[in-house]
Symmetry: C2
Subunit: 203 residues, 2 copies
DNA sequence: ATTTAGTTTAACCATTTGGTTAACAAAAGT
DNA sequence: ACTTTTGTTAACCAAATGGTTAAACTAAAT
C-alpha cells in the first residue's frame, strides 16, 4: 500500500501492523497481509519483532500509550469537576475522531486476554482514580455537585464518550443513519455530552 | 464439558458453539474446540451446520434475538420517558448480568463485519427509533423534559447501560477493583444510572 | 427380515499460517 | 582491502485448521 516516507523498515512494519491489527484484531490479522502492506518480505517481520505476539504487543502498547494520557486529563488536572468534564469531553471526542479504531481495538483485545492489563498497570502514567475521588467528595461536601460515587461518575463519563465509537455499526443501524449523519452526531456530542453530565450532577 | 441433558446433538452443538464463539469471537474460535465441548466428532458440526460461517451465524442471530427485545422495551412501550428509563435500566442490567458476554460479542462481530447488520435490519422486530423520537419531542413540547435530540438521548441510555459490560477489564483496572466489587458496582447502577439520566433531562 | 433414512465416526485432504533457513547484498568497522 | 555486522529475499517446513468421504451403526418403516 501507500509507503509515504516510512523511513526505515522497522517503522513501516509497525505502521502496517497497526493498520491490520486494529481493524482485524489479533486473531483475524495475518502476518502476510502486514508484510504486503509494509511492502516487504514476511521474514522481515520476524527479523524485527520475533513473533506475531510480540509485534502485536508493540502495536497494543502504542495504542494504549496514546489513550492513557487522554484519560489522565480528567483524573489529574486541577480544574473544577465541571471544567474537567467540559474539557475532557470536547478533547476526547476530537481525539477519537482522528483514531476511530482505537477504543474498539483496545477493548476487544482486553476482553480476549484480560490478564494483559496487569502488565500495563505497572507502568507509571497508568490512569488512577484516587485524586479524582477526593475531588468529587470534596465538591459534594461543598455542595457544588450532587452526591454520587466517584467510580460511577467516572464510568458514566467514559461510557458517554467512548461507547458510540465502540458500537458505531449498532448505533448507525438503530438510528437508521448513514456515515455522514453519524459523524455529525458525534461532533454535536462534544457539547451535548458535557451538558448532559453536568446537568445531572450540578446542584 | 458438562452435557447436562442437551437432548439432541444439534442443540448441544449450538450450545457449545455459543460458548466458544462468544468468548473467543469468530476468528479465535476453533471447530475442534466446539466439537470437544459438545462431546461429538468434528464432522457432526458440518453435518448439522455445513460450515463455520453458518454455525457462527446461527449463534449470532440467536444472540441478537435475545438482545433486540430488550431494546424495543425502551422504544415501543407506552409509559412516560421517565418510567421507560427506570424500567429499562433496571431490567437491562439484570439481563446482562445473566449474559455477560453478549454485548461485547455482538459489538465485536459487527465491527468485524459491519455489513452483517443489513441482514438483521430486514427482520421485523429490529429496533427502530421513530416512536421514541415522537415521544421525546412531545414531552419536550409539554415541558416535561429539557430539550434534547432523541438520538442523543438514546445513545446516552445505551452507553450508560451497555458500556461497563463491554469494557469490564478496563474499568476494573482503572477503578482498581476486583470481580466482587465490580459486580456490586453494576448492581448499584440499576438505580444510579436511571437517576443520572433523569436528573439530566427532568425539568 | 430387510430396506431405508438418518446419525456418527475415523481417517484423510488441501490450504493456510506462523515461523525458519540459507544464501546474498550492502554498510560499517578495522 | 577485507572482515564483520546488518538488512533482505526466496524457498521451505511443520503444525493447525476447516472441510470431506466413505464406511459403520442405529432405529424406524416396509
Amino acid at each position: 500500500m501507500a509507503k509515504t516516507k516510512d523511513e526505515n523498515t522497522e517503522n513501516s512494519i509497525l505502521n502496517a501492523a497497526k493498520n491490520v491489527f486494529q481493524s482485524k484484531g489479533m486473531d483475524g490479522a495475518r502476518m502476510q497481509e502486514i508484510a504486503d502492506k509494509a511492502g516487504i518480505n514476511k521474514a522481515m517481520l520476524h527479523y524485527y519483532y520475533r513473533s506475531k505476539q510480540l509485534l502485536f504487543e508493540a502495536v497494543f502498547k502504542n495504542a494504549f500509550a496514546l489513550l492513557a494520557p487522554q484519560l489522565n486529563k480528567v483524573l489529574n488536572d486541577d480544574s473544577s469537576i465541571e471544567d474537567k468534564i467540559r474539557n475532557f469531553t470536547s478533547n476526547y471526542i476530537s481525539f477519537i475522531i482522528k483514531h476511530p479504531y482505537l477504543p474498539a481495538f483496545i477493548i476487544q483485545e482486553l476482553n480476549r486476554n484480560p490478564s494483559f492489563i496487569l502488565k500495563l498497570k505497572q507502568n507509571k502514567g497508568f490512569p488512577n482514580l484516587e485524586k479524582f475521588k477526593k475531588q468529587v467528595n470534596l465538591e459534594i461536601e461543598q455542595k457544588l455537585i450532587k452526591p454520587i460515587h466517584a467510580e460511577q461518575l467516572f464510568i458514566n463519563i467514559m461510557a458517554l464518550n467512548i461507547f458510540p465509537f465502540v458500537a458505531t455499526p449498532l448505533i448507525k443501524a438503530f438510528a437508521n443513519i448513514n456515515d455522514k449523519a453519524f459523524k455529525q452526531l458525534m461532533k454535536d456530542r462534544k457539547e451535548e455530552v458535557a451538558d448532559f453530565i453536568i446537568n445531572s450532577i450540578k446542584i
